[in-house]
């Protein structure tokens, strides 16, 4: 990660959008930041944590997004500018508190909620547009269109939050949050943070009442007044701008990633004299006067935005309130299928949409080159399916789960969760996971399946989760399962990190976000205290793990737990050398004559096991082999061997 507190005001740095947001928070003088990791938002807290001690701020990875937002709110009440960050799904977790802090208000210092949306679900299990939440819950929201704005908006949002006395939201999408670009830095102020919560009986109290949502309708009305104030600021904001001719043939209205795509497309199509772009940075409430002025510029209007048609619907709704003579626009966008209402925007989709609306022909490449491309044999560009890394404990864990369920023979299955192990939906984990929804869902489902024995259901159920997920959202499901005697096995993949999102610490790890010693919470102690039988397995010991799982499956007395404990290979390999040198004896490997159907390279599928079509045997790719040695135990001919690496 980049050094976000570099003392270089006025200079340009190459930052990802999230680093720019974190820098903006520093330039705003925040004192407190909390989050649960989730792509594409994790680098905000990650980069703040690295500089927290030096900047004298507090930064934490919270157990989940609800706690993160509540903790940040407390800091605002005690007089610190504070930040909560999360991905779109985290917003769902935190939304109950969010709905009420809108009414109860914030403290004297600003509170900003940053939400990272993931159009196309690059690293998510759904697509979701957080802008809808700002409208739903009456929260002012902005969205940066590039990296510079990501920083500048963040800083400005604290001023707005304090001026109107409301939590404010910054929404960012993957192609801004995770892309890199130039950011010209400002000063980081020297802030002396002093926290104090003013008690209602304290004569120094300036806060008139306790923090509460009642009288509710009245406070709801206050929030609408705050939105009106925000709207007035938005009308004048330099984050909104129009570029293009006075009277264009086409007006593009866009925000977020669409801003850069729109400019590129106009440039590619050489339409600078025909197309104007209204770029909105302030999203909700809508700066109506500005929009009205721009709608008068052109008849045709095309909306470019990710993910839902939010501006499209909001502006079309607004335009219906205009006088009849000013209602002249023809609107294009997702509702006319010029742009998909799913997936992410791409430069190609934007070029295509503009060309279609203006009825222009655009040749991507000349015919001779296209012909050459078409001549490339299809099978030269094979598909690369995602899989677990070489040496990943999940591959070994799923090998044992698969074998235990097969030996058990009653048609058992796995209910999945969210993490690297979601890949067990496919061949990486032998198609074991049969459900894939949100964090905690697999264990909740297992609670239901686990009660169906009374209706003739006789299949064993294994719910899986990661270690970070266990603390985030599994504990209530396990309490429910043990209390109600639901019949299932919970498998926790404890790899010692929140691996999917970049190895953040969690309540079970040794250090806090700021690198200070943490009170480690033992997951086995929690499970035992709840009253579950708990077994701890080394997933690399395939035989013992399979036997333990079989025993747990047979027990059938309420919820019970197996913890698969092995560090994430990406973490281990940074600290240690490979433990083994793994070799394949070409004399012993029988290749296709074996009858194993290339068990190692086509079923176990570690990327380091490579089929050599010339020799007709499997070999090890030494550049990527991690030396875990697990494959030694899967070869039916014993052709794979491991030798301990002796460190010189």
């Amino acid at each position: 990660m980049a050094n976000i507190d570099i003392n270089a005001a006025g200079q340009s740095q190459l930052f990802i959008g999230n680093e720019a947001i974190a820098r903006g928070a520093l330039e705003a003088g925040i004192g407190f930041a909390s989050a649960y990791p989730g792509t594409p938002s994790s680098e905000i807290i990650g980069s703040l944590a690295e500089v927290a001690k030096k900047q004298n701020i507090y930064v934490e990875w919270s157990v989940n997004e609800a706690v993160a937002l509540e903790a940040a709110a407390a800091a605002s009440y005690a007089g610190l500018r504070s930040l909560a960050a999360m991905k779109m799904n985290g917003l769902n977790v935190a939304s109950d508190f969010l709905a009420t802090i809108v009414l109860s208000g914030i403290g004297k210092k600003g509170l900003v909620l940053m939400v990272g949306d993931d159009p196309a679900a690059h690293s998510s299990s759904n697509e979701e547009d957080s802008r809808a939440v700002s409208k739903w819950l009456d929260i002012p929201m902005v969205e940066p269109g590039d990296f510079q704005e990501a920083k500048d908006m963040m800083k400005w949002l604290y001023e707005l939050s304090e001026e109107i006395g409301s939590i404010c939201m910054l929404r960012s999408v993957t192609r801004v949050a995770h892309a890199r670009g130039n950011v010209r830095l400002g000063e980081i102020p020297a802030t002396e943070h002093k926290a104090r919560f003013e008690n209602i009986l304290d004569p120094r109290n300036t806060m008139p009442t306790s923090i509460m949502t009642i009288p509710t309708p009245l406070r709801h009305a206050f929030q609408h007044m705050k939105l009106d104030k925000a709207r007035a600021r938005f009308e004048e904001s330099s984050f909104n701008r129009y570029v293009g001719p006075e009277k264009p043939d086409l007006l593009i209205i866009t925000c977020g990633s669409g801003w850069l795509y729109a400019q590129d497309a106009v440039n590619t199509l050489k339409l600078e004299s025909r197309v104007g772009i209204l770029k909105l940075g302030t999203i909700w409430p809508l700066p109506e006067n500005l929009v009205k002025k721009c709608l008068a510029r052109a008849d045709k209007v095309l909306f470019l935005e990710e993910t839902d048609p939010f501006l499209e619907a909001t502006i079309m709704e607004y335009s219906s309130s205009l006088s009849l003579e000013s209602r002249r626009n023809i609107f294009y966008g997702k509702h006319t299928r010029h742009i998909n209402a799913f997936g992410e925007l791409t430069p190609d989709a934007v070029i295509k949409a503009i060309a279609a609306v203006l009825d222009i022909k655009y040749e991507v490449r000349d015919a001779a080159y296209v012909k050459k491309i078409e001549a490339v044999p299809q099978d030269y560009i094979m598909e690369r399916m995602l899989t677990f890394c070489p040496g990943c404990p999940h591959r070994a864990s799923y090998w044992s789960i698969k074998n235990a369920l097969m030996m058990d023979g009653r048609g058992g299955f796995v209910t999945g969760d969210i993490g690297c192990y979601s890949m067990a939906l496919g061949p990486a984990g032998f198609f074991m996971n049969r459900t894939h929804q949100c964090m905690g869902a697999g264990s909740g489902l297992a609670n239901g399946f686990g009660q169906l024995w009374r209706f003739g259901f006789d299949q064993p159920v294994i719910a899986v989760c990661g270690d970070s997920t266990f603390y985030h959202s599994i504990m209530p499901a396990l309490v429910n399962g043990v209390h109600n005697r639901a019949n299932f096995v919970l498998v926790i993949f404890d790899n010692g990190a929140t691996a999917m999102t970049g190895f953040q610490p969690h309540p079970g790890t040794e250090l806090t976000a700021m690198g200070e010693p943490a009170q480690q919470i033992s997951m086995e102690a929690i499970c035992q205290a709840i009253g579950a039988r708990v077994e701890i397995c080394d997933p690399f010991d395939l035989k013992a793990t399979t036997a333990t799982l079989l025993d747990l499956l047979e027990q059938e007395q309420g919820a019970r737990v197996a913890i698969m404990r092995r560090p994430c290979e990406l973490v281990r390999s940074k600290k240690e050398k490979p433990p083994y040198k793994v070799k394949i004896d070409p004399e012993k490997c029988l290749g296709d004559d074996c009858g194993c159907n290339r068990l190692c390279s086509r079923v176990f599928r570690c990327p380091a096991l490579v089929w050599d079509p010339v020799a007709g045997k499997t070999r090890i790719d030494e550049v990527i082999c991690s030396g875990c040695g697990v494959c030694v135990d899967i070869c039916p001919e014993g052709a794979i061997s491991k030798e301990e690496v002796v460190l010189a």
Binding site: H178, D264, D379, Y380, L386, R602, C606
Partner: protein, 206 residues
């Protein structure tokens, strides 16, 4: 600030997850931002450590910030860390003027029963296709050279050295030395050695 041979220059770094794609784009990006250019980098997500195809789009301009994704057929330079991935990029982003630097060391795809995914194309034919789709191709044996140096990951810096020597980017050795010192303070010497090795490999090809 040196003038670019076109504006923007659209550079694509492609490879397989875990090869160090992001690192290559970041080294180039940091050096170019220090030189006063606008840089935008977009990447593939999710596949980065998991054996999938990965690419980074680097847009270089002396005028403005471009979007993080390159449109179809608009690639100017392709730095391929793996041959199949290089061809994949040419198919989507190539055109009559594209210049390609390719590391010919294959990384096999993980096989699956019944999929045939494991079959790797004949390497000379594959390189032939790459040359056919490029205005100019530099075949740089970066992994072989890096393994001689004792660390296959140095292939990345060798490819950066090769790109530097083509003269297509407004970068010199000093600019890259500075970035290497900032980004890899614990491994300055091997990285600078790899950079020079890449430059020499291209000199021979010329």
């Amino acid at each position: 600030m040196k003038k670019l041979y076109k504006d923007p220059v659209n550079l694509i770094v492609s490879g397989v997850g875990g090869q160090g794609n992001v690192m290559v784009s970041l080294v180039l990006g940091n050096a170019l931002v220090a030189g006063g250019y606008f840089i935008t980098i977009g990447e593939t997500y999710g596949a980065s450590q998991r054996g999938g195809s990965v690419m980074s789009h680097v847009r270089i301009s002396s005028e403005k910030q471009f979007s993080p994704l390159i449109a179809e057929g608009q690639g100017d330079i392709i730095v391929g860390m793996e041959p199949v991935e290089t061809l994949r990029m040419l198919k989507q982003f190539g055109n009559m003027n594209v210049v390609t630097i390719v590391n010919p060391r294959p990384i096999h795809a993980v096989d699956l029963i019944g999929s045939g995914a494991g079959a790797y194309p004949d390497l000379p034919k594959l390189l032939g296709q790459i040359k056919d789709l490029s205005a100019k191709t530099y075949v740089v044996h970066a992994t072989d050279e890096a393994q001689k140096m004792g660390n296959p990951m140095l292939a990345n810096m060798i490819l950066i050295g090769a790109l530097l020597k083509t003269g297509l980017l407004p970068l010199d050795e000093t600019a890259l030395d500075t970035v290497i010192k900032e980004m890899f303070p614990k491994a300055v010497a091997p990285n600078i050695k790899a950079l020079k090795a890449g430059m020499e490999l291209v000199s021979i090809l010329r």
